[in-house]
Symmetry: C2
Subunit: 715 residues, 2 copies
């Protein structure tokens, strides 16, 4: 439509010229305008973050397949009931099985990563079998047992769906404290699996309510009256022909959750259920026919596989943040609100300094998480390669154990840090969309509800952060003992240089350098870890045992771990940026500096406390963050485009790539809420508003009051 | 059951003595133990916070009435569908109407406050008519018009339910930018209400989808082609006899939201709808028969009523925090996890220093919000008394305007600060409940979803915080000009004393004093407000206009407002505590100091930046927070009990007063999820697990692998 035509139409619609002017800039034009600003090759950035063009193409292929698969229809997801969602989630199994059996492990892993972004509930439900149950077999079964259960159909889902029964009503993180018992009955050569108390009820068991035929049950091994700790047992739950529960098994539905309602979490109680002795997974601990218990020697070597979940969650935190920011930033690029005194065209949200402050640091953080996730995955894969076949007595066993320890602590800390970051990013994005963020259809509320559990499962975030803190203290003590530490905590080998070091720059602008920021973080982290270490030592000197001492200084541990994680992310980001050149470097270095300075500003107390930066330097950093927010804002849409998430994946009218947010949003709301007969007018409203309310009202002559008597200009 | 009996039963259940020991401390006993620690009169604290015994008794009466009213049944709320919830919400109208018509305004306000804690969706839906629609009449109608609409049934809901049609798809906070038009047609003496564009669609209108017969519509007044700004018009929407929409009115359902699904939010489009001229509410602007527009002189005087919502939300933030903390702290008092090396009895969560750190500062903050809410309500009531009948030319008009300005800014800042605090408190409480926090039945997830909108409606929190920031800058400039400021910002009259002032204490312990903390906050706030003011002045000197200058320094404004709010809350809390004595004082002063020091720790960067505290003092504050957390933890259950929320109000098995959390939780889960036939076994699971998967599996002789061949002890 030409401007003249628009004007004519505007006049017809009782629009004043002012309003017509305000209309002149429509959302699609606004979005195009932003996209035209790209100062770098968006595709190149996508490929960089994906780890190569092949990975990008694979990702695009999978996104397209999902979008075209009617089972993966997602735009009606907010209005279907829990039972519909449960059923639809189960329905997706068959299509995923096809891929599982016909593509490489690497491709399937990528597929699952993308599926988790589209339908986290399905991803979990499917993962309960393939990740948790099959993972438990792989970690705990002897080769013979593995063959047996695979032969029974555990891999192909033939008469077999597994679930993972670890947590109990009264016990979550404390696995050694689980109450379920597995008592060896020598006479019958069986274990008796039993739920002795209410709190021993297996709880939150994904797949238990409607899917599983078998469970990997974690229970206290009791042989000849002696407890041998928590072991894993395969327990049949249901007859696969009828899905009736087997004798002694009681299962119920856990019901409604905050999110991920597609998963059929259940509770299980066992009442003296007998299973063959060989159903105990005996790769590590073995129980013989005569009740001899053989304990494993280096069980730590088996922990590696348990870290997979955490590593995946670092990547998921980065991916979900990308999805949330795609919505909030695209919306901010087209949403206009208030106009300055100089123009009638309202200002884009993205042009408000405060809106830049709300979103740009989170965008920078998301890039930092993305680079970190890649590195974390590499670290994990490297570790698994080293662990493969490693056994006690190997020449390099100490080194392998060291790598395991580092990966364990790093993944613990990053899982916590990145899932917390992601959860707050989703909420910040939701709030940044104003009222529309409260609509289910704009996608951020369910994203929050679905994601929130990531802060709790596979290790409560606070507990995981404390684990990293413990590792930092022990690394500090190792360093004092002269040990050369691994790179992630290498700065603790330089305590004498770092403690007391101040920022030395000739000009304030010299602060804007990754090297200097890295140094600053090292100084601060060295100080807080050292403080925690000193506090810990003091506790030991007061006579506390190691555990009590760690408990006593848990706040210092938490603080140290948190700062270490900020620093760690910045290092990964700076590393990543140092490897690129040209216009890609030009844009990424700004994003990287923004993350660095923002993270310093967020922790200004620590930088001032240890006097690395002076108050004036902190002031400079604060204003630099403002400037960098503005700089990054200029490339915000191209940067978000580089996340390369299709409209289907984002599944939010506010995050539409074309910027046509209002049209898509209105369509979605109308489509999802077709007009119907009034559902309860006759039953509820009519009796209410037509009831007898006394005689004072409804007098027609009261209309007299409507017109104001002193209608002044007519006097 | 005696201990001997327990032991016998334990042995029968295959329990080892260790497990039996761990069972010895049951949740109810744990709770009783905590309650027995009370070192103060719980009832006295309840009465203090309620503002007198009469208020406490009233609150208890209302809680009991609600609990006994079958319409207010709440324990099945998590499993009913949106349409059931909508219908049930409407059903509650009649019982509330009864109270509305039969009790004093004060009593009814208290009732609504309590209802909002039980069923925030209903509270909103009912409030749309009585708060927003009737409020719009009261603020904007002439006495005659008010009488007319009341005569039509607007007060008694007789053939009349109102809604409040302000926000549009494309406009939320920017009311002057609304696009809906109300064009005066002199020939017919009518206004033509029209939705000119998609973005002008009225959006989020509570009550529009299913309830309202009339709307208070905010639209651009156009008379003789000239725009006169946004005014309020009463527009009939539906025939009250049939609930069919009237000609030219199109209404749709906004559908699923993050929370509060009991409200029937709708969208409305007007297509040249004619209404009588007198349906424009003409208390302020008047339009005569001949199209003469008479603008109001001092419209600001009418803004007072608009602040009611914000003031209510400060109280709601405090109340909802109390509810969330009742759940998390009671659960932490009975939940045990991990045992130290010295005992087999697992440790209560509440005894972990890190868990104290997670919850005790939030408990302290909630007390601060509670005292602040009381003061904010008093300030508002005082203002309304002064505003009543105030008009241009009154001798005290300047003073009245000053009070209005202060209440406006204070309520803006506190609404934002307290609703943000409350939202994070809910989430922190949810995470502190571990996995169970993710269950719908434990109540925290829906509390979060319901509360989240408070950060957006009645003014987006960021924008409101900026408003406070603007007030702080203008107060700073007034102070420089020699004006004596109102108490809330009185510290800005002492800039010469405060700027550069350092904490002067002989001994570190002297920091533990409300007076010193107040001084510290004044110094910090004086500095940040002054910095923002200097930045603002510099912008003006560079030639920016006032609005641009404010925009430019929005980050400094936000920062100043945030710190001012911390300080404000601490002042209110310290004020409140200074008025009590004895054992109540002894416990409250610790809670108060905890809030003070925690708030300093959270903003350590600012205290170090302006050098009020030295790094060593900040270290002392950090460790004092640890100690105070431990102190407050000792009284945590009595403190939570003083919130005096019944089990019905809390509606969470984890928050049960008796501590019997597992029994209640398991009961709730079972009751809410009765066992049924498998819903989709035949359709989905059977075909999946019995499909042909190729010939390799299901060979019975594969059982051979199950037994490990090198079953060593038998060799």
């Amino acid at each position: 439509m030409s401007i003249a035509q628009k004007r004519i139409q505007a006049v017809k619609q009782h629009l004043t010229p002012e309003q017509e002017h305000a209309k002149a800039v429509d959302p699609v034009a606004s979005m195009n305008e932003e996209r035209a600003k790209a100062a770098f090759d968006i595709r190149a950035l996508t490929i960089l973050m994906d780890g190569g063009e092949k990975a990008t193409l694979l990702k695009e292929k999978i996104m397209q397949e999902l979008e075209r698969d009617p089972l993966f229809k997602m735009d009606d997801i907010h209005d279907i009931s829990k039972s519909e969602l449960r059923e639809r989630t189960m329905e997706k199994f068959s299509s995923m099985l096809h891929h599982l059996q016909n593509e490489s492990v690497e491709t399937f892993k990528k597929r699952m990563e993308i599926v988790s972004l589209v339908d986290p509930g399905f991803w979990t439900r499917f993962g309960v079998h393939y990740g948790l149950f099959v993972g438990a077999l792989q970690s705990n079964a002897t080769p013979g047992q593995l063959g047996y259960w695979f032969g029974k159909g555990a891999l192909s889902l033939s008469s077999f769906v597994g679930c993972f029964a670890m947590t109990e009503l009264g016990h979550g993180s404390n696995v050694p404290g689980l109450e379920t018992t597995a008592t060896f009955d020598e006479a019958s050569d069986q274990f008796i699996i039993h739920t002795p108390t209410l709190t021993a009820t297996k709880w939150w068991i994904g797949g238990a309510a409607h899917s599983a035929t078998h469970a990997a049950v974690f229970a206290q091994l009791i042989v000849k009256g002696k407890m041998h700790g928590t072991k894993c047992f395969v327990v049949p739950l249901r007859d696969p022909k009828t899905y009736n529960t087997l004798p002694g098994i009681n299962i119920g539905d856990i019901g409604k959750k905050m999110g991920r309602d597609g998963i059929d979490n259940g509770w299980i109680q066992f009442t003296s259920v007998s299973i063959p002795r060989a159903y105990m997974l005996q790769k590590h601990t073995k129980v013989s026919r005569t009740g001899q218990v053989q304990e494993p020697k280096m069980q730590q070597l088996t922990y590696g596989a348990l870290l997979q979940g955490r590593v995946t969650m670092v990547a998921d935190g980065s991916n979900v943040s990308k999805k949330a920011l795609s919505i909030a930033i695209r919306y901010a690029a087209v949403r206009r609100q208030f106009s300055s005194s100089k123009t009638d065209i309202e200002t884009k949200l993205l042009d408000y300094p405060i809106h830049q402050r709300r979103l740009m640091p989170l965008l920078a953080q998301t890039f930092a998480m993305s680079f970190t996730a890649t590195e974390m995955t590499d670290m994990y894969n490297l570790m698994m390669t080293r662990l493969e076949g490693a056994k006690e007595g190997d020449a390099d066993i100490d080194e392998v154990m060291e790598i395991l320890k580092e990966t364990h602590s790093t993944s613990a800390g990053l899982k916590a840090f990145c899932t917390w970051n992601c959860l707050s990013t989703i909420e910040a994005c939701r709030q940044a969309c104003g009222g529309h963020g409260y609509s289910a259809y704009t996608g951020l509320s369910s994203m929050y509800a679905d994601f929130a559990v990531q802060c709790t499962w596979e290790g409560d975030n606070t507990i995981l952060t404390l684990q990293l803190g413990r590792y930092l203290i022990s690394s500090y003590r190792d360093a004092l003992g002269g040990k050369k530490l691994s790179p992630g905590v290498g700065y603790l080998n330089k305590l004498d240089v770092l403690i007391g070091k101040k920022c030395q720059v000739k000009r304030m602008e010299d602060i804007l350098s990754p090297e200097l920021i890295i140094e600053g973080w090292q100084v601060v982290c060295a100080n807080v870890v050292r403080n925690a270490g000193i506090e810990f030592d003091a506790c030991l000197k007061q006579g506390m045992d190691v555990d009590d001492a760690y408990e006593h200084c848990s706040q210092s541990r938490l603080y140290a771990a948190k700062l270490h994680s900020f620093s760690y992310l910045f290092n990964r980001f700076a590393d990543g940026v140092s490897k690129v050149t040209g216009s890609l470097y030009d844009v990424l270095i700004k994003v990287c500096l923004l993350y660095g300075l923002y993270s310093i500003e967020e922790n200004a107390g620590a930088f001032l406390q240890y006097e690395y930066f002076s108050p004036a330097q902190i002031e400079f950093i604060r204003s630099s963050v403002n400037i960098l927010c503005k700089d990054v804002r200029e490339q915000a849409i191209p940067l978000v485009d580089s996340f390369n998430l299709s409209d289907y994946m984002i599944n939010s009218p506010l995050g539409r790539k074309d910027g046509n947010v209002y049209v898509h949003y209105f369509d979605q709301v109308k489509r999802s809420n077709p007009q119907t007969q009034h559902p309860y007018f006759d039953r509820l409203i009519k009796p209410l508003i037509t009831r007898d309310v006394g005689g004072e009202e409804d007098e027609e002559d009261e209309e007299a009051g409507l017109e104001d008597e002193d209608d002044e200009d007519e006097d």
